[in-house]
């Protein structure tokens, strides 16, 4: 499997989150290290949309046990998690 292009993953994930949860409002900024939970960016149903997007986009399956903040709760965590899954 090809290694993940982290920069493009970062921008794809950000674009999805801005579109799906911030309703395209680019003025509402967040840093790559910001916690989605603390910032109130994603909620309990939103995280399901986010994981479903990642599964389709990167062709990976996310197990229930992997649905934890260390893997999913920021852009940095997501990129690291996807890279590990693909690696």
């Amino acid at each position: 499997m090809p290694a993940l292009d982290k920069n493009s993953a970062r921008s794809d994930l950000k674009e999805f989150i801005v579109k799906a949860f911030l309703f395209g409002n680019k003025n509402q900024t967040f840093a790559d290290s910001d916690s989605f939970m603390d910032k109130g960016i994603v909620d309990s149903t939103g995280i399901l949309e986010l994981t479903s997007f990642i599964e389709k986009k990167y062709g990976i399956a996310i197990e229930d046990e992997e649905m934890v903040p260390d893997n999913l709760d920021s852009i940095n965590n997501l990129v690291g998690f996807i890279a590990r899954k693909l690696g």
Binding site: N25, M37, G40, S44, T45, G46, D64, M67, V68, D73
Partner: protein
């Protein structure tokens, strides 16, 4: 009995027992009582009018609990605020209830510029951290500076020392105002008295058989009346609330349930749907768990059956209520659940439920009518909204707006709603409010908003929009517009555009036909 007495009694009976756990920290009843009393003593000294409203913008935490009880201890009125609301809506509520004190968690300090500068009634702001406020007229106090006098003192000595308490509250005094979405779209303040909340708390403890060795995992916000009920019942029973605000990661929640050995878990339908379909919940043993409670909208029968199948030996309480009823009205006793799936059960102790026809006459079993409630749990009324109050309370009877029937065993079944309220993920959303906000868009000619079945949310909000002739609106544009105007949970999940809306001869939009498209 008043609300502060619930905490005082448990502190006297169980001073050393754990009252709350949050993020690895725990607090025993003695400490909780002492902290509440310290804050109450501070509030009491402020220059406030009698029965002043104290607004609380705070996430679930141990601090929330002592702050909330302190408001009652000082003889004041609590107004818990929905932390997900936009500043515009928060400001409306602060102005509407004429709050004199705002207790705000520092993470929401960004809202202050919009709130304090224009909310004329606020005199004092309390926060957990130093925060910047532009309005120099306001007095800012840091919470940590107010806690000290109770530390190391026995509950008995604190109880006898009345200096930390406000005037006694009479049972029918206003205790708290909980704001809910009104059918007109304007938030309505539901006024609950000490009698309302205490009676409902004691009745709930009775049918759930709560004891001091019970502890509940709380994922629902305390500003929401169901979350508030979890807090009051467990504090009053001498039990514990285990707070975890991370439900978006169900595995984390399940780990907390196991680690803290909770005996109860309470959720709205979407919580159970997520746990059953998207987590390892069905395979967990949860050996210490005694009961589940579910309220906040009807849960699909197949989800109830799935829950029973996954946890056949646990008590499952399906419940029904409304903020206006403090909130619990009915419950299904767990031993009858299998034969009564789809029912909201029987009235809780001390509450009477009657199904009435349009002439206000009780209908026989099997016939449908409006579900009405009488009892000590029925709200005092709506804050400064006599018109709406007159529509729902007649002769001390609460008309819930839900259409229901009773079977021959007295079990009640909800069959529909009089008003167009969408119950999505445990929230009640007025279709009319969402329509009104979308219509404020300059290029929208018509809109119809309604609920559609959703696996996770129970109901999802769908909006069908007709743009003005010659104008084009994009999906992103309308979503951004909704984000400015509506709380996140009220933003339609599905948005479609059409050239016209199907209508009845009367001109009213035929939403039934729309829902099929």
């Amino acid at each position: 009995m008043e609300i502060f007495d619930l905490l005082k009694k448990s502190a006297l009976d169980f001073p050393e027992r754990t009252a709350a756990i949050y993020q690895g920290n725990s607090v025993i009843f003695q400490e909780l009582f002492a902290a509440s009393r310290d804050i109450a003593a501070y509030l009491k000294k402020l220059d406030l009018s009698q029965g002043a409203r104290v607004a609380l913008l705070y996430e679930n935490s141990i601090e929330y609990i002592y702050l909330y009880f302190a408001i009652f201890g000082a003889g004041l009125v609590a107004v818990p605020l929905d932390t997900s609301l936009r500043p515009e809506k928060l400001k409306f509520i602060l102005d509407d209830c004429e709050a004199e004190v705002l207790i705000i968690q520092s993470k929401f300090a960004g809202h202050l510029q919009q709130l304090s500068a224009r909310s004329g009634s606020i005199k004092y702001i309390l926060s957990n951290e130093e925060i910047e406020i532009e309005n120099k007229r306001l007095v800012l106090k840091k919470l940590s500076g107010l806690l000290s006098s109770g530390i190391g003192r026995s509950v008995k000595s604190l109880v006898t020392d009345k200096s930390g308490e406000g005037p006694s509250n009479l049972p029918d005094n206003l205790a708290a105002i909980f704001y809910t979405s009104g059918s007109t779209g304007t938030p309505k303040g539901v006024m609950l008295s000490h009698r309302n909340l205490v009676s409902n708390t004691l009745a709930t403890i009775e049918y759930l058989k709560l004891k001091s060795n019970d502890s509940v995992l709380v994922i629902l916000p305390f500003y929401y009346i169901y979350g508030n009920s979890l807090l009051l019942t467990h504090i009053a029973a001498g039990g514990a609330v285990v707070i975890d605000n991370r439900f978006m990661y169900p595995e984390v929640i399940l780990n907390t349930m196991e680690k803290e050995m909770v005996t109860g878990f309470s959720g709205v339908p979407s919580n159970f749907m997520i746990l059953l379909n998207k987590s390892s919940f069905p395979t967990r043993r949860l050996e210490h768990l005694r009961y589940f409670t579910q309220a906040g909208g009807a849960m699909a029968p197949e989800i109830i059956r799935k829950l029973i199948a996954a946890f056949p030996s646990k008590e499952i309480y399906i419940m029904y209520g409304q903020t206006e009823a403090s909130p619990r009205v009915t419950y299904v006793p767990p031993d009858r659940l299998r034969e009564k799936i789809g029912s909201i059960g029987i009235p809780i102790p001390g509450v009477k439920v009657q199904i009435m026809n349009e002439d206000g006459v009780e209908v026989p079993d099997g016939v449908s009518g409006e579900l009405t409630v009488t009892g000590d749990n029925v709200m005092l009324g709506y804050w400064k909204n006599n018109d709406e109050e007159g529509r729902v309370i007649k002769d001390n009877r609460l008309y819930t707006g839900d259409l229901a029937r009773k079977d021959s065993d007295g079990y009640i079944y909800i069959i529909g709603r009089k008003k167009e309220i969408i119950k999505t993920g445990g929230n009640r959303v007025s279709a009319k409010e969402v329509e009104e906000r979308i219509l404020e868009h300059q290029n929208v000619a018509e809109v119809a908003v309604f609920g559609v079945y959703d696996d996770i949310l129970g109901e999802a909000i769908r909006a069908v929009i007709v743009p003005k002739e010659g104008h084009h609106i994009t999906l992103d544009e309308i979503k951004q517009f909704c984000q400015l105007k509506l709380a996140d949970f009220k933003i339609p999940k599905i948005i479609d555009f059409m050239d016209s809306l199907p209508k009845y001869q009367s001109g009213k939009v035929d939403k039934m036909q729309l829902a099929k498209k």
